[in-house]
Symmetry: C2
Subunit: 338 residues, 2 copies
Amino acid sequence: MRNIDVKELAGKVAAGDRRALARAITLVESGRPDHRAQTAELMAALPRPARPALRIGLSGTPGVGKSSFIEAFGLMLTEQGLRVAVLAVDPSSARSGGSILGDKTRMERLSRDPRAFIRPSPSQTHLGGVARRTREAATLCEAAGFDVVLIETVGVGQSETVVAQMTDLFVLLIAPAGGDELQGVKRGIMEMADLILVNKADGPLKETAMRTCADYAGALRLLRKRPQDPEGYPKAMCVSALEGSGLKEAWDEMQSLAEWRRKTGHFDRMRAEQARHWFEEEVRQGLLARLTEDRHARVRMEELGREVAAGRAVPIDAAARMLGELASIPKGHGGTEE
Amino acid sequence: MRNIDVKELAGKVAAGDRRALARAITLVESGRPDHRAQTAELMAALPRPARPALRIGLSGTPGVGKSSFIEAFGLMLTEQGLRVAVLAVDPSSARSGGSILGDKTRMERLSRDPRAFIRPSPSQTHLGGVARRTREAATLCEAAGFDVVLIETVGVGQSETVVAQMTDLFVLLIAPAGGDELQGVKRGIMEMADLILVNKADGPLKETAMRTCADYAGALRLLRKRPQDPEGYPKAMCVSALEGSGLKEAWDEMQSLAEWRRKTGHFDRMRAEQARHWFEEEVRQGLLARLTEDRHARVRMEELGREVAAGRAVPIDAAARMLGELASIPKGHGGTEE
């Protein structure tokens, strides 16, 4: 990663060079301050894609069949000639060794498809860090000419919100289950979904899946209508990744919805809002990074932290002192040692 | 809240004055910069309690009977002559109108008990904000001489981690359920628990509760031993808030564990680590607050945000420019307008 010609790399990515894309993603995943600076350059040098890719967020708790769905859905898209990138946001991957997408064999056929590009979740313990990298990776895939960028996440905690903030459509994948299960899906996540897909609508579970689907459809009708939705959305549908049924219908719905949003301007408005949010988040992360990147700040944090731990200062008071000293933070990475 | 004599307020809180305690908590819950400064003064002026209270974190998903448990458990403690404070961390309360502790009638008898003090979760949309206030409120209750400070949270997302970082013991309350349910409790949360209490071990659910308890006890044995645990911990036990059974036993366990940790030094070490974490968190929050509190920073964030939203700048590049300008951040709340 030494002496990268960022402009050249940007050009290769934009030309659809897969190896360049992989290298560019490796660069954005690096936490090194000099790599962060190069990432900023790279992102600024990327040409805008002629037509933005459709970014689809996909969430679902473990066991609903996310990998099988992505494999079947992705292959259907590539068979239509579309180029599909699959990324993941999994803040737990550092600990668990990657519970999602960690193993490409989970999507064996798709990973061998020349029109598909699969990248596991970056190893970061902090959700903000994962989000940052994935957002940049998605932009790189878009610049590389992928038509669909699928961003997978596990259905726990705040990762859905993070994924919804970087995608054009949000799909919630659920398993067929009894009526009680409905309560298990947090209201906030249902409110984010554009499409709820009940997977495993095959074999002995088919009837249960249809009932579950009807339950969700009913629940969705009770939600307040959102400005970004035409009549009849969000929707609930049955799919079977195993048999391949419902996948085409689901894709048709996604396209109709995206098309409606493009026409009405919601698509661009959502992207603009997301870009603004991304900018603000970058500023916040960059500001916090100075506490560890700047040598003087780091040393003082250590010293005051020890005082507090020893009971010689109360946390909030020591923090006020530290903040006072931070009145003028050395620019950029002045004191960095790395 | 004008012209508060912070020293006097600290003295009254330390003397156990309930109205002063309530006023002090209202002060720490305020987001106004001048109130934050007074909060820092107040916290620094508080005398150290002779013996620290036992801070107990309590988590459980909606429906496991957290309120009934706190009511029954709290009354048992006050009958023993102990003073009990109940606080809550519920980042969703701003939206949902307070799903936990929002209504004191949920713990009707305990809320009328002169030895008990119940305070609902502060209204904040941001978990960090709720955590900050609750941490300070817990310290105030401790200074006011409460023997037990119970901090309740809902069993979703990151709020458990936040509560575990401000308590001495972490108790997970669960409902009796089939074996499959075990998978529903995230491993990370089980790893945080010192005691798992299976509630509703009464009437027709008693047997299921005992089986569930055995399942959890088995699962706990598979976890790696933590340095802060004596042999046999963490434990799983059955309780019934309805019948009052198991509460005394649970309290005995909590006391034994706390006593062991006090003797071995783990209690103080955990507190020291928590204080250090609190300090670091305060610095981070304070640094981020400048982006909105400082007038110049706020205006530039707005301007650059608009550029980004309009597509005239890419997020990461605009962020780099903003961070460059933030090289010297005006001290404190110089440009504040409030």
